[in-house]
């Protein structure tokens, strides 16, 4: 388990990373951290066991080479530009669902901005229990615990805040022009690459906490999706043509989410509504809206400042806050 990496090992690792191309002797590492050379070498072999790679010079000095493709909390924390999000990060190789773990941490008063992250979810929750595929090492499954100071009625806007942040993070990669499918999916080239599931614990007038769950298909190949999802789901690797560094992507997501979340606390969706609309995949399009077992067809015309979708249906204008949206033939 990633939790088993000790602080000493992380300290040694970070020092070696800081040295860039320079060689470091085990002796100087020992002096720096008050360890015997034997203990330093033990730590280095533990790190090797985790998949870290170091070069060794003929004089027995070492330098950092590569990190394993694992979402270690200490890797995410290193170089993380977000200030509040990720102050506390709990990593798991595999959990039933990061939202479930986050929920338990939140009840035990985990601080605002705590992150739960896993390389795999065995029971990833989609909306209303629909499962979100979570093979190991291919995706990112993370949940953020927030304690926003807004009234519960405003909380649904956070779904759009999160979807926008994920879309913006993905847009850092060349060729990945991510779009938001209202209210909580992120599409790349028309296929779903990421999704958001937000859970709220609240009194009538006060939020206890919000858990924002984010799942991103990162390094999946076409064979990793079941056949029935082939034309609906995609991954960043498939669309970009090369693998994406998951640690860096998590850092980007957290940075954007923090910025948009602070904006939301100040001004609701007002400051980000333009970006949300610009990236919307459905505005101006013919859509069908399914709710329970009823379906209706219309045109998505706007997203309002509460985040509701404004739709024209049979010459009536409706504001929707729920429903499964799909595009219908638009010509």
């Amino acid at each position: 388990m990633p939790d088993d990496i000790t602080q000493t090992q992380i300290d040694i690792l970070n020092l070696l990373k800081d040295q860039n191309e320079n060689w470091t002797s085990p002796k100087s590492l020992g002096e720096r951290f008050h360890l015997s050379i034997k203990k330093v070498n033990q730590s280095l072999s533990e790190l090797l066991r985790w998949g870290y790679r170091f070069e060794t010079s003929r004089r027995g000095e070492v330098r950092f080479q590569t990190a394993p493709d694992i979402l270690f909390p200490h890797e995410i924390a290193r170089g993380l530009k977000a200030q509040v999000l990720g102050k506390e990060i709990h990593g798991f190789r595999s959990v039933s669902s990061t939202n479930g773990v986050a929920h338990r941490h939140a009840i035990k008063s985990a601080p605002d901005g705590t992150i739960i992250i896993a390389g795999r979810q065995t029971a990833g929750r989609g909306r209303l229990g629909r499962s979100w595929m979570s093979p190991p090492k291919l995706g990112i499954y993370l949940s953020v615990i927030l304690r926003p100071t807004v009234v519960p009625a405003q909380a649904p806007g956070l779904s759009l805040v999160a979807a926008l942040s994920v879309a913006e993070a993905i847009r850092h990669y060349p060729g990945l022009s991510a779009m938001i499918k209202w209210p909580n999916d992120v599409l790349v080239n028309g296929k779903k690459a990421a999704g958001v599931l937000t859970e709220l614990s609240a009194e009538l007038d006060r939020i206890n906490f919000v858990v924002i769950g984010i799942g991103i298909n990162v390094n999946h190949e076409p064979k990793d999706f079941p056949a029935e999802l082939a034309d609906k789901a995609t991954s960043l690797q498939i669309e970009q043509g090369c693998p994406v560094d998951r640690v860096r992507l998590v850092q980007e997501v957290l940075l954007h989410l923090e910025k948009r979340y602070l904006q939301f606390l100040r001004n609701g969706l007002k400051d980000q509504l333009k970006a949300i609309k610009d990236y919307s995949s459905i505005l101006g399009r013919h859509i069908s809206v399914r709710h329970g077992n009823k379906t209706m067809v219309g045109t998505a015309i706007d997203i309002d400042v509460d985040g509701a979708l404004v739709v024209n249906i049979d010459k009536r204008t409706l504001r929707l806050s729920s429903g499964e949206i799909s595009l219908t033939e638009s010509y």
């Binding site: 909306r127 519960p152 649904p156 779904s159 209210p183 909580n184 709710h291 509701a308 929707l320």
Partner: protein
Amino acid sequence: MREKTIRKLVKLVEEADIESLTVRNWWTKVQIIKKGGGGSNGGSHESTITIPRAAVKPSLPPMEVAPPVQVAPQPQPQPVSASSIPAAATGKEIKSPMVGTFYTSPEPGAPPFVEVGARVKKGQTVCIIEAMKLMNEIESEYDGVVKSRLVENAQPVEFGQTLFVVEPA
């Protein structure tokens, strides 16, 4: 709203020790003010009542009775402060903290969180209100027995709308 319903409400206001009564449901708002209801004796007795859709069924012609999807109402200048329906109100009410869609179970086909007649504990999840894919697990604020559920599964609910009545144990 039907004439019959309104007549009933007028009678209610006449008999009760209140000056006015405002009733809202999904589509309509009716305010009944007692004639010459001398407001001299201190504070006003106005009570605003939100009648859950499920409780007052046929309110308007079919087209508007059954909106195919959740339709968020236009923002109101102030939140509707809902109180109980006098006739039904011996238990404690669990109300919705937001506009959204009411779900009785964690996923379609799963057994409901609670059944009418079941015991609930304080903090136990009784339903989910969903809006924009934000799932709000509503908890009972009381130990007791679920006396009634006032909303059907997958139906829209308003802010402050009563979802359940719980008889405290």
